[in-house]
Symmetry: C2
Subunit: 415 residues, 2 copies
């Protein structure tokens, strides 16, 4: 994944103080997180942005330097002019973590350092179906060994492992209420993996991890309120509020894919009716594809083949094929407008592997979204379309592990 350091714009002197915390956190942690987000930052700027005295900053950063979490640096990235100013930066070699993304098709891992720099990556095939927790844990252990071997580090040198799991996941406890990769419900997966690996394990909903990747390494470095909507097998959403992922009061919110867009509507794979996902996800498009393509049921192909044919037909002018994408686009417009009407984000990032089905994201979809937004006379928020691969999600999983490490280090030494 590309680290978008060019996105980095430290707050100017007259701008608002950057609000960084959903909860109230010790000042020492605020100092660390500000350094992490900035990449590098002089002490004076840190004091000003956080609204604390230079003496406090000096004391707290001395402590962070002593524990090896941050270091002083005088190198300006990009060779800026003027004499180099001493600044603070996260110490990359302080910790190593692995991030993984699990799907039924494949499992991807990245090994990164404390500054989020990629050291190694590895991919193994998935089981292609829901499996028992023990089988999933076996696969995870194998993947961890492989990516460590590739990086030349031992698993016991890692500080933590982060995992992205599709479905309904409670990050705080590591419980998976439901996931397409597991054949059981309410699995304490985080605990089971942790016991097997002998390492701290953190897991979260996969959409939250794309969001975390944007927050740590992408657009989120300069924005405080934004939504990330992921579209592929399902529809996911992550929301950043004041520079932190908002998970709701019980850890399972932001389920845009299962927000209802039609009373008694189409059947969703979650078992309920009228969910946005049941109109927009790939399986939803596939349901009407055989009709549009004039295929009989015994001609059923793989989902990928079917969607590709459907898209080709739509491009070639098949009105029925077009109407499938157009209806999906209209429901997507409605779902996105509801995000605007309810959350009022600065930006919506549309993120997915399947952004090639461009009918969904046509100008008319975005125009219709604007028409569905509350009329204040101001333009609708920006929508940014961003394709990605599994590496982004795995990077988000690594960011989850890194965030947990810094939280743990801070929590162990309260101010």
């Amino acid at each position: 994944m590309q680290l978008l350091t060019s996105d980095l714009q430290p707050a100017s002197g007259c701008g608002p103080i950057i609000p960084r915390h959903e909860g109230q956190r010790p000042l020492r942690q605020q100092v660390f997180e500000r350094i992490r987000a900035a990449g590098r930052i002089p002490r004076a700027e840190l004091a000003r942005e956080l609204g604390i005295s230079p003496a406090s900053v000096t004391a707290m950063t001395a402590d962070l330097i002593a524990t090896g979490m941050i270091e002083e640096t005088s190198r300006e990235p990009g060779g800026a002019r003027g004499r180099p100013r001493t600044a603070l930066a996260v110490r990359p070699e302080a910790h190593l973590v692995v991030g993984m993304k699990l799907t039924v098709q494949e499992h991807t891992a990245v090994l990164v350092d404390f500054a989020g720099r990629l050291i190694a990556t590895e991919t193994l095939a998935g089981a292609t179906r829901a499996v028992a927790p023990r089988a999933l844990v076996d696969g995870i252990a194998r993947l961890l060994e492989r990516v460590c071997a590739k990086a030349g580090v031992r698993p016991q040198d890692l500080s933590a492992v982060g995992l992205g799991v599709p479905g309904f996941v409670e990050a705080a406890t590591g419980t998976v209420f439901w996931s397409p990769v597991l054949n059981r419900r309410a699995v304490p997966l985080g605990e089971e993996i942790g016991r097997r690996l002998g390492l701290p394990v953190h897991l979260d909903n996969d959409a939250n991890l794309v969001t975390l990747a944007e927050l740590w390494f992408g657009a989120g470095r300069t924005l405080s309120h934004f939504a990330v909507v992921t579209i592929e097998h399902g529809v996911g959403m992550g929301y950043v509020l004041n520079h932190r992922i908002h998970r709701g009061s019980r850890g399972v919110g932001m389920e845009l894919g299962h927000a209802k867009v039609q009373l008694d509507g189409a059947l969703c794979r979650c078992g309920q009716r009228g969910c946005l996902e049941a109109y927009v996800a790939d399986y939803a498009l596939a349901r009407e594809a055989t009709t549009a393509l004039h295929w009989s049921h015994h001609e059923m192909r793989s989902l990928g083949t079917m969607l590709k044919s459907l898209h080709d037909q739509a491009e070639a002018g098949n009105a029925a094929a077009r109407s499938i994408f157009q209806r999906a686009g209209r429901y997507l417009a409605l779902g996105l407008a509801n995000i605007v009407n309810l959350f009022d984000p600065e930006l919506i990032i549309l993120s997915g592997e399947r952004m090639r089905y461009d009918y969904l994201y046509a100008a008319e979809t975005l125009a219709e979204m604007a028409d569905f937004c509350v009329a204040t006379g101001r333009p609708a928020p920006r929508v940014q379309i961003q394709p990605w691969g599994d590496l982004l999600w795995a990077h988000g999983a690594a960011a989850l592990a890194l965030a947990a490490i810094s939280d743990r280090l801070m929590g162990a030494r309260p101010d």
Copy 2:
């Protein structure tokens, strides 16, 4: 309004630190807000909850006492046993504010002290239609004089005025993009009223004010994430996140009434189609009432009369009348479930003057809401049904003014 002091449950020693701030605020302000929310709190408890040293608390509270914002008190409310402990409390007489709620029918005002205690209340008839900004400001000035006279204080003794306005309101600038009480769009109403009254004026969407009232004086004293949904002429919503009202990135979010629940659905008074309000608000019920009641168009009565007849008929077994309430209830269930699926609140407070139309809030509506919520195996969040009068909204408007005063006092003396 009853001050629910019994709701107050200070965090226990081993519980999570109370997250109080959406943005990052100076510690001194955090100290003040914690005292305000607690009612009375000993210094040691304050230090523990905020995770700061007792010495810091002593220094900051000394400063707050010197400026007259808080005071020491040794009186235990309710006559608790044991020797009285010295605690800190807001000084009621430090400031006086007026809160007002404006509707097309009437304008209500309350005059309260810095601790939120009611001193006087006054109501004047509204214009019963949208009027020019100047006429609205005239009415506000008259109401202010009356409520001050009743309390025996001069308008110039007030520290601020808070106003609740229906419609699309940007609190930060005091701009009203659209409101049923105004015959123009995009009015800088806060500025115009402030110039006329010679006092600091703060205004907000009326649903946010009900929410603020709950946050300062009601259920919100012990909850950090909750939604307030108001149902009467329209459908409004306020959301509290980490003990503060969440207004979105541009100040116009949480528009549940204009979230879309049906593609190309019923026409809403905002001009768009498929808004929740267009199925649930009183004017939406009235649209089908003549059909159910077998009234011809020339028999049109007032909205109140029509809805009362409709409700009576439904009670008496008229299936058509029942189906109107039942459909509205189903869409409301869908809207509330979407709040759960997207925001994951601890509690939803349903608040409104028209809670007598109990079909809307029948057990079956709440059961259907639960069926529309993401299936995690846990119960849906609690829904609390709370009728109110205009005094609650006016009290919320007063809380808005009080919050602005404390923010201003803090902002003027940063740490």
